[in-house]
Amino acid sequence: MAKILLVTFGPQEAGLAGGFATQLGAEVTVLALGGVPSVGFPVLDAGFAEVPPSDTISAAVAELAKGYDYVVAVSSLAAKDLLARVAGHLDWPLVNDVTAIHGSHEFQHPVAAGAAVETVRVSGYGVILTFRPAAFPGTAPAGESTKESVSLAVAPGSRRTEAAARSGSRPDLAQAKVIVSGGRPLQTAEKFEQIIGGLADALGGAVGATRAAVDSGIASNELQVGQTGKIVAPDLYIAAGISGSTQHLAGIKDSKVIVAINKDPGAPIFEVADFGLVADLFEVVPELTAQIQQRAVAL
């Protein structure tokens, strides 16, 4: 059986790889760079308190990868940054954002801002992939597995002088089942938090934002959803005051149910929405929040 080295940057990621590994028909070993997952896959724990910059650990990861047929990771900025460098060291092919497996060396991935999907065939001794977990349903085996420490040499390279930190207690966008996103019409950071944050909290969901909302300073950087930013695939995506630029739509297309709330009936977001409500978000979003809260009380 082919062997996969699954590189993880957070403790939740290994749990998202079950469906992908099954489809690839390969045996998984996890290389945990950030937090040790509790899954049924054997785990190699690098023991880092925080994942070091890619250029300082890529050579060590590449060395370890030589014993595997595939090096894979859940798509993220961190994964693409590290695995592209590992691909350079090993001179192996890399396909990012895989959404379908057509064979041991044939994969599908989105191109041109999600306008099309490309199937590529790769050649080489080993293959490196990042994948979108929403395209590969299935869970990782549960239960205990072997865990051993692995020592990865940290080489000189770039130095982090200030770490990014996620604030607040809401779920992470990449894993959230429900996401409520807002655009620039929210006008201020206070209204954004009150209206978008309020509905998200009523639904136990995460908050997202458009690039325009982030650039105008009413939502923070890490909330940006879209081709630049996070690609998301929640069960429910509610877009309030979002017109639906190509790059934003490319980031939400895999959501199960999309709700659009917008004053402009011609907004492109309505073309992808399962439910469209043409209305002023300042009136209907608080009303929706209230109805959700009442339901919660009634249950």
Partner: protein
């Protein structure tokens, strides 16, 4: 200080891209070709570094067919001092491009390579780090700010959690994200001046072949049409019946 800026020729990123009838290529009917927008940001960043530091030489490079001259002329109009076209009709993937860029870097010895985080057509997302690994240089990707003092670059970069600050010694490979800058409008004098700047054509330096070949393209699956609702109550009812809440 010398900066190498690799430039890719892509469809106008705002054009509607469709799959050609034979399924073997993408097309954008009537669309123009442009510099990959992330590479344009890299070009702007290079020009801003020259404005801040004075003695900075900027070399733009493209790899591909003779038609890439159009984008190199635009890079020259933006402020590159010279341009190199590595002319080839070979199939190119990130591996080939990184190998060709590596050869150029070893020949020209720039202090920085400044390039887009990805190209908007193929979205390979890997050439910068691949090149850095081949060179054994540090990398700083997805930049939202960059400043250089002597041999030290300080930068902010986009991460999954927001933004982090890093510092890195030159030489290094940098890739740009959208927030780094807004490329300037090219004024007519720049376009005229670009015509007389040197643009050298040459062949490939390596025999490296592509590892990734396109089997075909399909249109992205479209979502079935949804329904309009007229009130919040109707919306809640609809979401409830779909099991979404």
């Amino acid at each position: 200080m010398k900066i190498l800026v690799p430039i890719k020729r892509v469809f106008d990123p705002y054009a509607k891209v469709t799959v050609a009838p034979d399924g073997q290529s993408l097309e954008a009917i009537g669309a123009k070709f442009e510099i990959n927008p992330f590479d344009e940001i890299a070009m702007e960043a290079a020009v801003q570094l020259r404005e801040a530091h004075g003695a900075v030489e900027i070399v733009a490079v493209a790899i591909g067919g003779s038609e890439c001259e159009e984008q190199l002329r635009k890079a020259l109009a933006m402020g590159a001092d010279s341009a190199i076209l590595v002319e080839t009709t070979d199939a190119l993937d990130s591996r080939v491009v990184a190998a060709e860029l590596e050869a150029l870097v070893r020949e020209l010895s720039p202090d920085l390579v400044l390039m887009g985080k990805l190209a908007t057509d193929g979205e390979g997302n890997q050439t910068g780090p691949r090149l850095a690994a081949r060179l054994g240089w540090p990398q700083a990707t997805l930049l939202s700010s960059l400043s250089i003092s002597g041999n030290l670059a300080t930068a902010r970069r986009e991460t999954d959690l927001g933004e982090e600050a890093i510092e890195v010694n030159l030489p290094a490979v940098f890739t740009t994200d959208l927030r780094l800058n807004e490329p300037r409008y090219i004024a007519l004098p720049g376009i005229i001046k670009a015509r007389s700047k040197p643009l050298a054509r040459r062949g490939r330096a390596t025999g490296v072949t592509a590892q990734t070949v396109t089997v075909g393209y399909e249109s992205a699956p479209t979502r079935p049409p949804g329904q309009r609702v007229n009130s919040v109550t109707e919306l809640v009812a609809g979401l409830t019946s779909r099991g979404a809440i």
